[in-house]
């Protein structure tokens, strides 16, 4: 019983949140990793693209809500998602046309793309705030929990509760599906392979009859889709505020890089590494240990490896360690 | 001069070099041939410190140099060229050559800042030397061109040129001839002979052009599947059944169509 309690405790405060957060990061990191893998630059605008996609989805959600359309118990936002994706694709393709295409023709260095993406980031940033404002926005509806901590306690009679949110469930499932799909797409389909070929050697891809414009377009379409999905799911789970999406960029990049840039599987792995290290290293194990050991042994300190102030630092520390042993990430990513 | 003892290099589960032992005598021009993928370039890379060996060791004049980084080997007089040209593509041809000489005063920040006179006089010398090399390789007209814009063959020449900028003890040439015009290659061959005779350079060269090997090299070492298959004079090698089967082949099966 005690053992079970300990396990539930750990699940509730460490495993479930870490898995959910890890999947969120992974979804974001997938977009970053894809653009890096195909177009060979770190896209700093990705966080704001997520915000843009999520914003459009929210606007549609509100509209649906006002018309009374819903898919209870699932959130209405899922219904609005395709529209958000479409608009986001349009937006991203427009930025490519206006901004990136020029540098591609110039065969500019990756760092130029990177800085240009910062420009796009600034502008997108502004656009999103113009349209929806800098405030917190609520748009979640439908059932909120799959299991709620209190209900769980009542159901099982255990001392500890376990909660699992609908949004967490959707995120985890989506992340896994998307990774599989992307992996399959890049490694098995003709278009996917041609995209990898393009990223490897652009000139030779041309000589093989691969249409570079199409490759680039497909890459952006996928990236925009991923960004909208990630942004919306994140907003459903937490809340939508443009500023957080900028902040999200850092852990997302950390995840993409620790997993190995360009590798979809790496993005998932990286997301989990970052999420788990953040949560596990700063967790206070006092209660957990108390369940496991005889009463007299109970620790009187918190048994916290590091204070939560260092949570970000910890995840980066782990990232550094990983990179020291695997300089291009866990799944041996690319580097330009 | 160079002694390679039971060297092995593994990539994943695959042994690119497998228990290879060989010796390069001082003052010789040793040829290294073998089928594609025999492990020749890998062997060079291990000797030159690019890869760490999985087993075995390398001796230079009796000193164990296994695993030393490339720049330390350079300082010991061991130079190499790359099979796939590694030019500095954003620098001009002349700069590519001028950066080679070691111990330039101007490469130390202190001197660069506060001893401009010394730096300038050294630069003049190095520049002269570079111009000589450029002249010799017949690439004067592209001396100020970015090296990245050179033709494939010109890049290989530049590879070779860099080794001529310093006094080396031993030079490893990885297919300098591939892609180089045969007439120019003959001139290069003459230069190699001259450097060998007059300045006492030792050479070890990988090459697939048997005429070229035949003209310069003695002895010739044949590698296959990571190990040394045979060693001897060019004539020995040419008549070695194993070598013929693995490497030399017996000529064209199809008779060339002779047009009317």
């Amino acid at each position: 019983m005690e053992l079970l309690n300990a396990f539930i405790l750990l699940s509730n405060f460490v495993l479930v949140p870490a898995i959910a957060y890890g999947s969120q990061l992974a979804l974001g990191a997938l977009g970053v990793t894809l653009i890096y893998g195909i177009l060979r630059f770190s896209n700093f605008a990705h966080g704001d693209t997520m915000a843009f996609g999520a914003m459009v989805t929210i606007l549609f959600t509100w509209w649906f809500q006002s018309m009374g359309i819903s898919i209870d118990p699932l959130p209405t936002a899922l219904l609005a998602l395709p529209f958000g994706i479409l608009c986001c694709i349009g937006f991203v393709l427009a930025t490519d046309r206006i901004v990136y295409r020029f540098y591609r023709r110039q065969k500019a260095a990756p760092v130029i793309f990177l800085i240009a993406s910062m420009g796009v980031m600034f502008v997108t940033n502004g656009i999103v705030r113009f349209i929806i404002g800098p405030n917190d926005q609520q748009f979640a509806d439908g059932e909120r929990f799959i299991v709620k901590a209190r209900t769980f306690k009542q159901m099982t009679g255990l001392e500890e509760g376990l909660s699992f949110k609908v949004s967490q469930g959707i995120t985890v499932v989506t992340a896994i599906l998307v990774v599989i799909a992307l992996f399959w797409f890049l490694n098995r389909t003709r278009t996917g392979k041609s995209m990898r070929a393009y990223s490897d050697n652009e000139d030779l891809a041309l000589l093989s009859g691969i249409n570079p414009d199409k490759v680039v377009m497909v890459a952006w379409i996928i990236a925009a889709t991923l960004a909208t999905i990630a942004g919306t799911l994140y907003g459903l789970d937490k809340s939508f505020k443009p500023f957080t999406y900028l902040q999200l960029l850092l852990p997302i990049f950390a995840a993409a890089i620790v997993g190995g840039l360009g590798s979809p599987i790496g993005a998932i792995a990286g997301g989990f590494v970052i999420a788990f290290s953040e949560i596990m290293v700063t967790y206070a194990y006092k209660k957990f240990i108390a369940y496991l050991v005889p009463e007299s042994w109970e620790p009187d300190t918190l048994v916290q490896l590091l204070s939560t102030d260092y949570k970000f630092a910890v995840s980066f520390m782990i990232l550094l360690l990983v990179l020291l042993f695997r300089p291009t990430g866990i799944f041996a990513g690319k580097s330009v | 001069m160079i002694k390679v003892e039971n060297l092995a290099k593994r990539f994943g589960g695959f042994y690119a070099v497998n228990n290879a032992s060989l010796e390069i005598a001082k003052g010789s021009i040793t040829g290294l041939i073998g089928p594609n993928g025999a492990g020749k370039t890998t062997l060079f890379n291990v000797i030159a410190g690019v890869h760490k060996p999985s087993a075995g060791r390398v001796l230079l004049d009796g000193e164990d140099i296994t695993g030393l980084p490339p720049h330390s080997l350079f300082d010991r007089g061991l130079l190499r060229t790359f099979q796939i040209a590694h030019e500095f593509s954003t620098m001009t041809v002349r700069e590519n050559l001028m950066m080679v000489p070691p111990d330039q005063a101007g490469e130390r920040l202190w001197d660069a800042w506060f001893k401009p006179g010394l730096v300038r006089s050294q630069e003049a010398e190095i520049r002269k030397k570079a111009d000589e090399v450029i002249e010799f390789l017949e690439i004067s007209h592209v001396a100020d061109e970015l090296a990245g814009n050179l033709s494939g063959g010109q890049k290989k020449l530049l590879e070779l040129g860099r080794t001529m900028m310093v006094d080396a003890k031993i030079v490893f040439l990885d297919e300098v001839g591939a892609g180089v015009n045969r007439t120019l290659l003959n001139t290069i061959g003459d230069a190699i002979l001259r450097l060998n005779k007059e300045r006492g350079y030792t050479f070890c060269m990988i090459e697939h052009d048997m005429d070229f090997i035949g003209r310069l090299c003695d002895p010739v070492i044949v590698m296959a599947e990571g190990t040394v298959l045979a060693e001897g004079t060019i004539d020995d090698i040419k008549s070695n059944e194993q070598v013929i089967e693995a490497y030399l082949g017996t000529g064209l099966k199809n008779k060339p169509q002779v047009s009317a």
Binding site: R190, K193, S194, R196, A197, D200, N201, D203, L204, A205, L206, L207, S208, G209, I210, N211 | I33, G34, P35, N36, G37, A38, T41, T42, Q83, A85, E138, I139, V142, L150, S151, G152, G153, Q154, L157, E175, A178, G179, V180, N181, R182, T183, L184, L185, N186, H208, D209, M210, A246, Y247, L248, G249, T250, G251, L252, N254, P256, Q257, V258, S259
Partner: protein, 235 residues
């Protein structure tokens, strides 16, 4: 009129000086044409010009009588041209097999047969087909590059120094194969520094010097021309 006819090509890279001057190159159906010349003469440039990777200031390229001077390289691939560049001619982080598949990117039919043929020609590639091309030896890479072009099943095959770095036995195989390919009616345009072997199998040879046609004749004739031998074929 030859199958491929690139006439009076004049042009260079970007805004730089002209590298080709009035350069003309032709290859008839089923014919092997070989370009030789000193380093930096403009051989690779001429190939790129034929393939549309260079803005020509003058001259035109026709394929099978059709003027393709304005077409993009991609469109030329669709017209049945295939090209193996001299450098960076593989996809380094894709496996050997994927490299070959990319060669057949525009083909809609079953490519397994062609792939088998390529493996037959270069047995080592079959062994290494799951390995990334970037991890191959120089000569093996060269084989992948040629294999990729063969996968296209082109009508015109253009090879820039296909034998650079390959062992004698593979070179012989390669030339054998090229002769076979040509016999099926495919035109071959090839730059070679292993010039004597190449001219040996060539129907037609071009000697380019400083971007201009210096000599043009049958392969055999060029081989036997003492001046050509001395200045360009290494005696």
């Amino acid at each position: 009129m030859s199958y491929l006819s690139a006439s009076n090509m004049t042009g260079g890279y970007g805004r730089g000086a002209d590298i080709l001057h009035d350069c003309t190159i032709e290859a008839a159906e089923g014919e092997i044409a070989v370009i030789v010349g000193p380093n930096g003469a403009g051989k690779s440039t001429a190939m790129k010009a034929v393939f549309g990777m260079l803005n020509l200031r003058k001259g035109s390229v026709t394929l099978d009588g059709e003027d393709i001077t304005r077409l993009t390289p991609q469109d030329r691939v669709a017209k049945g041209m295939a090209f193996v560049p001299q450098t960076s001619n593989v996809f380094p982080s894709m496996s050997v097999e994927e490299n070959l598949e990319m060669g057949a990117f525009l083909r809609r039919d079953n490519i397994n047969g062609t792939m088998e043929q390529v493996y037959e020609l270069f047995p080592i590639l079959k062994e290494k087909r799951r390995q990334n091309a970037g991890e191959l030896s120089g000569g093996q890479r060269q084989q992948v590059a040629v294999g990729r072009a063969l996968m296209t099943q082109p009508k015109l095959l253009m090879l820039d120094e296909p034998t650079a770095g390959v062992s004698p036995i593979v070179m012989d195989e390669l030339f054998d194969r090229i002769i076979e390919v040509a016999r099926t009616g495919i035109s071959i345009l090839m730059v070679e520094q292993n010039a004597r072997q190449a001219l040996n199998i060539a129907d037609k040879g071009y000697v380019l010097v400083q971007g201009r046609n210096r000599f043009t004749d049958t392969g055999e004739a060029l081989m036997n021309d003492p001046e050509v031998r001395k200045s360009f074929l290494g005696g």
